[in-house]
Assembly symmetry: C2
């Protein structure tokens, strides 16, 4: 799938309106926001909107609100995780220091809700506000769950709940916001939520897969960093539940305690069956997601079908 | 002024509704929120509302939204400033670690806007959203200005602009939100904003005074900490502009470079005329603030007059 340049430009222009100052705070806020993100969330909002309406002008503040939230979470997450590289660039706290990076995230947070306030119709602004605030709560709850996982081995169900909140909630909100702005009826809104819920999950699972078998250059970060950090991804949790004792013991030895590149390769080899499991799950979720689109116009839903496939197949 | 227990209880009960979970994230979010804050902002919202309406039940989510924002800013500020004590208790990041403290602030942020979303009337929710988001932007901008001041000596005007944003914006928003919820007309809303703008300034200036001549026990932090940290408060900026060369040099030697308690006392002695200047400014701003209340019912405005005086005269 090729994202349309004209839509990406609309998104970037709208984002710039909200960050149109040039002091240290705004520079720090723009550092990551304009560092080449994929804009999947506002793009999704717009594609959903276009299922029923054409002129996107009035819904752009709503669409970019989710991108502003997304970028605030990345800036704060990078501080929490001590990550120094994101999208191939040094992270905000590395360049501007931690205090300014916390503040830059806080500013983007405020700007997201300022954008929601700029929706003209009060009823729609109110609905979007509810959806976005709920997603923000869930993103925090998901992130906290992820942090708690460092202390114990979660079940696959707990892991799925975590990513539905940490990653999925904002993707769901993006789609729902598009549906609010385009006056979807209840049935349509529910269908689009179910679609988005599934692509939210696939998005994170594909992230976990790419960390193991992706391309360093395209990802903008080294392959296997989750293994180095000992992260409990779906793939790792599945492996721990399904490997024989020898392989399991060896995997646990390597996780979070990598001595050389060969061990990364060894761990990935051990994880192969679980990577396949994750890929099959991706396929199933993507099929389900696409199925929920059936109630919409055949031509108009095409791009959303492609988006679902793109998220499953993406390489960065 | 004695804050009414029944109103404080309503505020606390409403806050609890939004933080009614007990995992690590919610515990961290409640740590400061229920550590004995004065609740001046939601109290102000309620007093403003009561100028025109009686039943506060429906406006409580709006009132506590500002308290949630206030607490998020304190948690993040304490991380940025490396402060270890607040309200006489260890700060959130000291107890829960920095990652969880960042996240706890982020959760309170989301909860504030969730509360705004819970306002039933969409038109009011929309207006409150706009006011609160704008205040959140200004709070960040003010905090960034404050951080920039570490690098140069601001003018009194720049300092006043900084505190109007960092501290004043949210106090103004509190009052404005009360006025929206109680259907004030334009003239009434403007008057209450002018009132609140001034008490917002007096609030910060009194904070700066208390840091120099307050009571350690009542403040919950040591006296003179601003001198120890070399903070450029209104009082210090005024002193630098008005002292003779000898005293100015001595003050600059001590600021941010305190060797013993006697030097704190010496600095405070040097700052005396500037403390008096700040007190006169407080008095002037408070008189102006009270004057803006004249258009409201004499009996009903009484508590807001007392609040203005309380802020000027408070000892903690």
């Amino acid at each position: 799938m090729i994202f349309k340049r004209e839509i990406l430009n609309l998104i970037d222009e709208e984002l710039k309106k909200y960050l149109n100052k040039d002091n240290a705070l705004y520079k720090a806020s723009k550092h990551l926001t304009f560092a080449g993100g994929k804009r999947i969330r506002p793009y999704l909002s717009i594609l959903v909107y276009k299922l029923k309406k054409d002129d996107v002008k009035d819904m752009l503040p709503a669409a970019i609100s989710v991108e502003l939230i997304h970028n605030y979470t990345l800036i704060h997450d990078d501080i929490m995780d001590n990550d120094e590289i994101r999208r191939g660039k040094p992270t905000v706290h590395v360049v501007y220091g931690e205090p300014m990076a916390i503040l830059a995230g806080d500013l983007l947070y405020a700007k997201a809700f300022e954008a929601v306030g700029d929706i003209e119709d009060s009823k729609k602004a109110h609905e979007v506000l509810k959806v976005l605030a709920k997603a923000c709560v869930e993103v925090c709850e998901g992130q906290a769950m992820d942090m708690e996982f460092e202390k114990y081995w979660p079940t696959v169900e707990e892991y799925m709940e975590m990513i539905r909140k940490k990653t999925g909630a904002l993707i769901e909100a993006s789609a729902e916001i598009g549906s609010i702005m385009a006056d979807f009826n209840r049935e349509e809104r529910e269908a689009i939520k179910e679609y988005a819920k599934r692509i939210g999950l696939t998005f994170q699972i594909q992230d976990d897969i790419l960390d193991l078998i992706g391309d360093k250059e395209k990802l903008g970060k080294p392959v296997g960093s989750d293994i180095r950090e000992g992260k409990k991804t779906l793939i790792v949790i599945h492996a721990i539940n399904n490997l024989d004792e020898d392989k399991k013991r060896r995997l646990l030895e390597i996780l979070g305690n990598v001595k050389n590149e060969d061990e990364i390769k060894e761990a990935i080899e051990i994880l192969k069956p679980s990577i396949n499991y994750a890929r099959e799950l991706l396929k199933k979720l993507t099929d389900e997601a696409i199925n929920y689109l059936k109630i919409f116009d055949k031509d108009k839903r095409k791009e959303l079908e492609e988006l679902a496939k793109f998220i499953m197949n993406r390489v960065y």
